[in-house]
């Protein structure tokens, strides 16, 4: 079985994600150092809290460069959850402007739902519209997920967005660039649909550059899905 490295950097609800992965009987290891990443075939970056504080915690553990090596160079499947998804962007603007990992071009900005009389934070269960070719959503119908956030990633390339949700306008509920995925909602807290999504992430087959794409709207814009040798 492939092993999932759950990145434990002090800015995530690691326990909750770990509980969900263990419930699914997946092989999980907590990754706290660059060396720990070596022992994992797929990586999950959870995240709770503010963008800059989460990013600083990754930096302090020397995980930023190490992640670049495993995720960008070696193309290990990667899933960022909530703030872990937002960190994929180039820049975040929560409390202060701070650079992110830069795997998905774009910036993280506050939801503008208050302008239309909706409440922020966006907290609760909401439905998403998803690209059916995205392996994360395989086997689902009309899924609802649990969201709790005030900020959203705004990808500069719309093809990075593989699922959208509505709260005072559409926002990116899930993004993908090749082997790199991010979800704004909390799959570990989304009961059946959430567990299914984690299971899909753990089991989807990584293929080389020939991912099915939706007509006129490729879901793998850079065509860079590459197999790791097994």
């Amino acid at each position: 079985m492939e092993r999932i490295g759950l990145i434990d950097y002090g800015a995530g609800n690691t326990t909750s994600v770990l509980n969900a992965l263990e419930h699914l009987r997946l092989d999980v290891t907590l990754a706290r150092t660059p060396e720990d990443l070596e022992n994992a075939d797929r990586l999950i970056l959870p995240g709770v809290g503010a963008f800059a504080s989460a990013m600083r915690k990754l930096e302090r553990l020397a995980l930023v460069d190490a992640l670049g090596d495993h995720v960008v160079e070696r193309k290990k499947p990667f899933l960022g959850i909530c703030v872990g998804m937002q960190l994929l962007a180039d820049l975040g603007h929560e409390f202060e402007t701070y650079p992110g990992l830069g795997y998905v071009a774009g910036e993280v900005k506050r939801l503008r739902a208050e302008e239309v009389g909706l409440r922020v934070p966006h907290i609760g269960w909401n439905e998403v519209d998803y690209d059916p070719s995205c392996p994360l959503f395989e086997g689902m119908s009309a899924p609802a997920f649990y969201f709790v956030h005030s900020y959203v990633i705004e990808p500069s390339d719309p093809t990075s967005t593989v699922a959208t949700c509505l709260h005072g306008g559409p926002f990116a509920a899930a993004v993908r660039r090749g082997n790199i995925f991010g979800v704004q909602f909390h799959p570990e807290k989304s009961q059946r649909d959430g567990l299914k999504l984690l299971e899909n992430f753990a089991s989807f087959e990584v293929t080389r550059g020939d991912e099915p794409t939706r007509q006129g709207r490729p879901s793998v814009a850079d065509g860079s899905l590459v197999i790791r040798s097994r």
Binding site: N13, T15, S16, N19, A20, H23, V48, G49, A50, S53, V83, F95, E114, L118, R119, V120, P121, H122, I123, G124, W125, N126, E127, A144, Y146, F147, V148, H149, S150, L166, H167, H186, E188, K189, S190, Q191, R192, G194, L195
Partner: protein
């Protein structure tokens, strides 16, 4: 579109689940782990645990409840979070950012703060800064004074603060609270329904989500909190302990009232 939430509340007193009446009388219900398993039936959208113990350490080994010994709150929390794939808020006795961090590290997704915030409002700012606004729920316990006005009470209803709930809710929001849990002391455990005007006054005072609590005695009261009270989420404690599949019945009543909730389903893991 964002759905309205149904949130069972579990009251823990010295490690045992209790029922509460007007913040004063408590009746033992049993072991948290078993009750949680029943409540985390998939019709719940979220769970709130409020520890209302007077003391911090307690022994959970009760022969009459036929259960193993769980010696402290954090192990209860860990045990609960292992079974609960939905958001879980934890409150009660939180005095420092470290207290909150400990709860979060052991499986809480949100912390519910109350008395300490009244004592030291900057506590809200510090928690929001550390965990993000989405993690910080401020619980406001309010009691009616004269006609349609209310006062905020601290220390589980014991100490009047002279604050009005709507003003306090606004301040909480400004300081970084991500949600307000508004609880009516007068209605607690009475089954008379929410104090709807109180809930509405809070819902209209703030832009963050508002959760109503206190007084649900029949399923129809839940819809009142959402429709008349204009809350975003409804919660209740005692009523969920009275019948089988209670959460499902509660959810169904909201669904049938035409409210935008997740479809009630018994689908399990």
């Amino acid at each position: 579109m964002l759905k309205n939430r149904l949130i069972p509340v579990v009251l823990l007193r010295e490690g045992v689940v209790v029922q509460s009446k007007r913040f004063g009388r408590y009746q033992l219900l049993g072991n948290p782990a078993t009750i949680v398993e029943r409540l985390s039936d998939w019709a719940s959208d979220e769970l709130i645990y409020l520890d209302i113990s007077g003391r911090r350490d307690y022994d959970l080994g009760r022969d009459d409840l036929a259960q193993g010994r769980t010696s402290d709150l954090l192990s209860i929390l860990r045990e609960i979070s292992r079974r609960c794939f939905m958001p879980m808020a934890f409150g009660g006795g939180l005095r420092t950012v470290e207290d909150c961090a400990e709860r979060v590290a052991n499986g809480a997704d949100k912390v519910v703060i109350n008395t300490q915030a009244l004592h030291e409002p900057e506590f809200i700012d510090r928690c929001a800064k550390e965990f993000g606004a989405q993690c910080v729920v401020v619980c406001i316990d309010a009691k009616q004074t004269v006609d349609q006005t209310w006062e905020v009470f601290a220390e589980r209803g014991k100490r009047p603060t002279g604050r009005s709930p709507d003003q306090w809710a606004k301040e909480c929001q400004e300081r970084g609270a991500g949600e307000i849990l508004i609880q009516s002391i007068d209605r607690d455990g009475t089954g008379q329904g929410y104090d709807v005007p109180l809930v509405r006054s809070i819902a209209r005072a703030v832009q963050v989500p508002v959760i109503a609590l206190g007084g649900v005695g029949q399923w129809g009261h839940l819809a009142d909190g959402l429709i008349e009270g204009e809350a975003d989420a409804v919660s209740a404690a005692n009523i969920f302990n009275y019948s089988e599949n209670s959460v499902l019945k509660a959810k169904r009543s909201l669904f049938e009232a035409g409210l935008n909730v997740r479809e009630p389903s018994l689908a399990s893991h």
